[in-house]
Symmetry: C2
Amino acid sequence: MAITIKDVAKQAGVSPATVSRVIADNPRISTKTKQKVREVMKTMGYYPNFQARNLVANKTQTLGVIMENSATLAFQNPFFPEVLRGISTQAHDSQYGLYLSTGATQEEIYQEVVEMVQGRRVDGIILLYSKVEDPVLAYLSESSLPFAVVGRPDKNSQSVSYVNNNNIQTAKETVEYLIELGHQHLAFVGGASDFVVSIDRLEGYKQALREHQIPFDANYIVNQDVIEGNERESIRRLMAHEVPPTAIVTHDDMVAYEVIGYLEDLEIGVPEDVSIIGFNNHTISKHLKPPLSTVDISIYELGLHATELVLEKITDESTPPKQVVVASRLIERGSCRRL
Amino acid sequence: MAITIKDVAKQAGVSPATVSRVIADNPRISTKTKQKVREVMKTMGYYPNFQARNLVANKTQTLGVIMENSATLAFQNPFFPEVLRGISTQAHDSQYGLYLSTGATQEEIYQEVVEMVQGRRVDGIILLYSKVEDPVLAYLSESSLPFAVVGRPDKNSQSVSYVNNNNIQTAKETVEYLIELGHQHLAFVGGASDFVVSIDRLEGYKQALREHQIPFDANYIVNQDVIEGNERESIRRLMAHEVPPTAIVTHDDMVAYEVIGYLEDLEIGVPEDVSIIGFNNHTISKHLKPPLSTVDISIYELGLHATELVLEKITDESTPPKQVVVASRLIERGSCRRL
DNA sequence: CTGAAAGCGCTTACAG
DNA sequence: CTGAAAGCGCTTACAG
């Protein structure tokens, strides 16, 4: 068995309580005793038992990270590693560990969260997505465990801590950028339609059209969840529209390139025939052909600030819910052209 | 405070020991008592305290996942999310949680691992990389904690459990594929030169040349760590070689596309002027231009089997070290041409 | 400045 | 079939 505080105590000729106080660097322990005990700890190779410590302190020093469909979708999406990088950095700075959800279905995830919370497996939770009518979010809101959301909650958002981009505004500006380039027929390829981020961006898209007196046409809207498994055909159909779009806004760079691939197979050139814009500014996008115009949404910062928010709440329960807006900006590259 | 076993016991009119046995579904407890206790647990919303349970069982039900430079490099590399997906799936099936390392430097990672092990924070560890003279691996080998490595350890490999591709063979076959297409001047863009995977692949590259009587030229070898921050210039220099290569093998699809970008800027076409091959078969590669010929190394399976190996070792300490080789296969697409 | 005792929330021989 | 007691490895009032 591993070395315990008792072994150290015996070896150093003090009580376990004293050893514990030395670990905590309690000022009431004499320097001499501290030195001796520390030496013994070192030579014996003592390390405090993490679980025992935390059981009495009633904390875990770990943060739960909940992702949508962890075993399948989330990992394909390059958003995930980048947001995790932000979380990881901040957590490490504060000596917190990360505990990842592994559930694959909505129901599994829910059960996992309940267990994390009730079983006191984590001190706080970061929810990596925000969707409409999400039971997980509802549950967290009821619980007293600190948590933060990456993305805007669909309701009562004032009462929860979250980090977000201003997705409505950003999408609006993106569309306006294309309108200014002379485009009047704009398609929108969004994420799953029950995600708040998709809803917000679609709203921004609509606002831009409205302000520029461009009629809205539902045939120009393609959501990831409805085309799942039928991507190629959906794009074909989109382009077969009576008046095909001259510009497409997609919700992710990798999706944009997938679309570009389908377009090229249809002998539709980018940006000659169709302009296209992505989101998320993946590292690789600037090296690919065409270099993709994209919206950088500061994914790393989303993770960083979400973590800050939970940690604040953990440190001081009375911290009021806080909302952080992270910058996003359009990066012009070579995938759009002026009409 | 949360509800404890005592609260349930009192409410149900039994002893805490009995409640504990009901939780464990101990057969010696009467069905009647079980029913009653379960009902009380349910109505009170009782959940076992994770840390308390594990303290007495001396286990944690969590697996440590150690990645190189977690906060920076690892996340950029699409290998990471995919291997994590494999780990995550397998861990979830066995009711294990995942605990991610967050250290950014070699030294930080080492400290984290020591703390995980000594502090009994995890039941086992998965090391996501294998590099030469790695103190982390040395430490794990000394410790008695179960662990598994993704990649071949540089020494004493028989004594550790690991999952690997046959990198030497795979690289050899990849190069031979190009040789058969008529290429005689082959460059190799590898990962960091202290990673065993890079070393093995380079070895395979050399073997292929040797068997086909092609002289080895060190100028054709470019390692990620030495060109770091100078990628563009390094590729320019590579192509400025007296006899420029007609084919390039790169260690990752995204790196391949980056290289292709630099080549195109130099007005060197792929595959017209230079053939190129990647590794890792990213989801997006088949949609990009040119569709990339690549080696699929079954990243998901690497993660899955590594997890299986640790779990076996956790379940039964006496399990001897085991090595698993995961398949890899060349996928021909449009980035190579016959000379 | 230090120790003995109680306690964190569980589990598990031992007794009955 | 069930309970009282001891214990997992720590921490922290309470006493001295």
